[in-house]
Amino acid sequence: MELTINSKRVSAEPGMTIYQAAKKANIYIPALCYHEALSSMGSCRLCIVELTKGNRTKIVTSCNYPVEEGIKVVTDSERVLKNRRMIVELLLARCPEVKIIQDLAQELGVKKTRFRIDEYKENCILCGLCVRVCEEVVGVGAISFLGRGKDEKVDTPFHRASDVCIGCGACVTICPTGCIKMEDIDGNRKIDRWQASLPLQRCKICGKPVATRKHLEQIKERFALPPEILELCPDCKRNYYKKQVVAQGHL
């Protein structure tokens, strides 16, 4: 099907979102809570665009609006930009020290926020990427949104170490503000934010940490991998396979 984005005719497959269609056509739309590997939550509202369908124009979030034949989309109209600036002002007042927010503010020409910065506590913008990656990709769901409204936060149930967290670190990697910290010390992986401390498996050959034992157990259950390689670090694993390939005479 075809739609128009910023006066440009763009083709898209049914089931795609406006965001995906725009990306395919190299049209940039800012977003904080969107990730291509995850379901759309539509919570940061930065990816809003102006959509005209028939004779009605409205603001929609591009990350979860399914493409339709003939719709007209504008990603940078004054109305869109004005609203994005307000959202950035709000986020800047919440997390003034977060680089990704500062960069967005600069990009949109927001010099400062008009809101009071008085309850500055931490750098979480509640984008929910960590929650979704844990549930949808890792398949665990160790963390979720707790509380509601302005008191909402992401945490483990009852702020206690989760029974199901495998210490994979996906939440750490995906967090756009860097507010989830992870450290491997004394044979344990620690994610203080979730009270997690999980024993690490050391590489059978070189002794370097591989992953948490719980993470390796999950991999073992999910994928039919030869058990011996699970206890090897990436470098030693590479060597192991290299030797096998050489032994088989392919090289």
């Binding site: 509202r45 004005k82 959202i87 809101f115 979720s144």
Partner: protein, 619 residues
């Protein structure tokens, strides 16, 4: 009741119920309102005492007794009505019960002290039907509450109960039912005002099985309780409406999502479902028609946001009630991703009326764009607090003055908030506005679920906006940035204004922020959240300016901006305020002028409340 297997049997059962009642028609009938409002005022004790005392009569008089749910005139509860004379007793206590039995039931005399006094004429009214509060109403939906013991299916059948269902199942195709509802132009009573017929048709046409029919009883607006009262007082009418809807849509499973804070509604509707299943109005092969439909009750935790359709369905699925984008409508992908049709309690009740009497009859009531009646909860600074049902298009003035009896204590009307926290405040100049969906929206407010809070001259409109913002901040689910951060910032700014820290640029910032929240919030809770601020800014802007520039609160409410003092000419030196003051800020000799020490005064207003000479003034 035994299983009723076909419409003919139903009519036989109905005939025999009516015949039995005909025999009793001459007997005295005592009706006590046991709705939640009257229970709060002690109705359960009154009911208990009546049962006990009537039991002692030993055949001296044959008296029938009935406990119903809400009649609407909650201000006067507990309410007792003696029929066939139609005598109306108000604020009845258990102590009054023996007197009512002795004087009225046995003696045929009226107990004067329990009669209602019309505040405008100061005259006592004997009969229920002569009370002005009821006279101007058109209680098509709500009126049956007065005659129904909600735990008795016979009471419902005696009032033509399940007749509409029989008509739909036996005389109409599902398409004809939808067409009738569409022709009647029934608009959703939960607030949105969307055409129920159009919604039903979309759901019927949507691909996917099973389809769900849901009743939204998550009424959460402060001060609104019409849905609760319908579900408590006439639960079978909701079940009948839902079953008709399910037949039209092609659904066999229904849910009633009701907040757990409504225990009586949960109880009564659960009893009604059981009765309907036992009698063949729910379950397999309803009344021999071949149509199956089951209803289950799902209790919610009382989150305001769960009144929003997608959040409600998420909560019904057992997850945290947070809304989602509805670019794909819930009629296509709703509960568990299946086509789902959600209507509010009052909407379902209207369905029964439309099918029973026909769209042509129904269309005669109301205005061009809004047909039928609407139930409002009339609360706040109003003489007759309660639930009222009026035809669409009645003016605010008629509602507030003719039915509501005006403002108490001779105060002046200032504003009326319609539509709950998402609605807006309308000033005196809008009193002649005909109340319907479109007119209210045009004025900047909305119908909402029908909350109507009346405010008098002692209300500060900035403080009122703050109250609603505070409610919305508490109830925001926190999912999207504009609602979570934006509405909270609005509250912060308005609080600053109320507490004397307002800056001139605040009004512009409030307006900018409101525009963005309206445009970008994920659900209707967020996008309508700025309404109380926008309407107060529209109609009472001078009050904001007084707070910001002059640091004064014209309503005399915001404690940081007011001072209490004593009027030299009015003070009689009676000493009442001196005794009432909790912070010992008032001094003065007996019969001499009193004065307030501003350093000690905590601005609680006690002195002003107790002064009989209006000598305490706020500046």
């Amino acid at each position: 009741m035994a299983m009723i297997s076909d419409p003919q049997k139903l009519e036989k059962v109905r005939e025999s119920i009516l015949k039995d009642r005909e025999k009793d028609s001459g007997k005295t009938q005592v009706t006590v309102c046991g709705g939640t409002g009257c229970r709060g005022a002690g109705a359960e004790e009154v009911v208990g005492t009546f049962r006990e005392e009537l039991g002692k009569l030993d055949g001296k008089a044959e008296v029938k007794f009935k406990e119903t749910c809400c009649h609407g005139f909650c201000e006067q509860g507990p309410i007792v009505i003696i029929d066939p004379e139609n005598i109306f007793y108000k604020n009845v206590t258990p102590k009054d019960v023996p007197e009512i039995i002795k004087e009225t039931i046995l003696g045929g005399k009226v107990v004067d002290k329990l009669l209602y006094t019309d505040p405008s004429t100061k005259k006592k009214v004997v009969h229920e039907k002569e009370i002005p509060f009821y006279q101007k109403q058109n209680r098509l939906i709500f009126g049956n509450n007065r005659f129904i013991d909600p735990t008795s299916i016979e009471d419902y059948l005696a009032l033509e109960g399940y007749k509409a269902l029989v008509k739909a199942l036996t005389e109409m195709t599902p398409e004809e039912v939808i067409e009738e509802v569409r022709k009647a132009n029934l608009r959703g009573r939960g607030g949105g005002g969307f055409s129920a017929g159009v919604k039903w048709e979309s759901c019927r046409k949507a691909e996917g099985e099973p389809k769900y029919v849901i009743c939204n009883a998550d009424e959460g607006d402060p001060g609104a309780y019409m849905d609760r009262s319908l579900l408590e007082g006439n639960p079978h009418s909701i079940l009948e409406g839902m079953t008709i809807g399910a037949y039209a849509i092609g659904s066999h499973e229904g849910y009633i999502y009701v907040r757990n804070e409504y225990p009586l509604a949960v109880k009564n509707v659960t009893i009604a479902i059981q009765q309907a299943e036992e009698s063949g109005f729910l379950g397999d092969n309803i009344l021999g028609s071949g149509f199956d439909f089951n209803v289950r009750v799902s209790r919610g935790g009382g989150a305001f946001v769960c009144g929003e359709s997608s959040a409600l369905m998420t909560s019904l699925e057992g997850r945290v009630g947070r809304p989602r984008a509805k670019y794909i409508h819930t009629v296509e992908k709703g509960l568990w991703g299946k086509p789902s049709n959600l209507n509010n309690v009052e909407t379902w009740a209207n369905v029964v009326l439309i099918i029973k009497k026909g769209a042509n009859w129904y269309k005669k009531i109301g205005t061009e764009g809004s047909k039928g009646t609407k139930i409002f909860s009339l609360v706040g600074k109003i003489n007759n607090t309660g639930l009222i049902e009026v035809p669409m298009g009645m003016t605010l003035r008629e509602i507030i003055y003719d039915i509501g009896g005006g403002i108490p204590n001779g105060k002046k009307f200032k504003a009326v908030q319609t539509g709950g926290p998402s609605g807006g405040c309308l000033p005196e100049s809008k009193l002649d506005l005909p109340v319907d969906f479109d007119e209210l929206t045009k004025s900047g407010s909305m119908m909402g679920s029908g909350g109507m809070i009346v405010m008098d001259e002692d209300t500060c409109m900035v403080d009122l906006a703050r109250y609603f913002l505070n409610f919305l901040v508490e109830e925001s689910c926190g999912k999207c940035v504009p609602c979570r951060e934006g509405v909270w910032r609005m509250l912060q700014i308005v609080t600053d204004i109320c507490e004397g820290r307002g800056k001139e640029e605040d009004i512009e910032l409030l307006e900018d922020l409101s525009d963005s929240i309206r445009d970008t919030a994920l659900c209707a809770l967020g996008s309508t959240a700025p309404n109380p601020v926008l309407t107060t800014l529209k109609y009472f802007r001078d009050e904001y300016i007084a707070h910001i520039k002059d640091k004064k609160c014209p309503g005399g409410v915001c404690t940081a901006l007011i001072e209490y003092s004593i009027d030299e000419e009015k003070c009689t030196g009676c000493g009442v305020c001196l005794k009432a003051c909790p912070s010992e800020a008032i001094s003065g000799e007996k019969k001499e002028l009193h004065s307030i020490d501003k350093k000690k005064c905590i601005k609680c207003g006690m002195c002003r409340d107790v002064c009989k000479f209006d000598a305490v003034i706020i500046t």
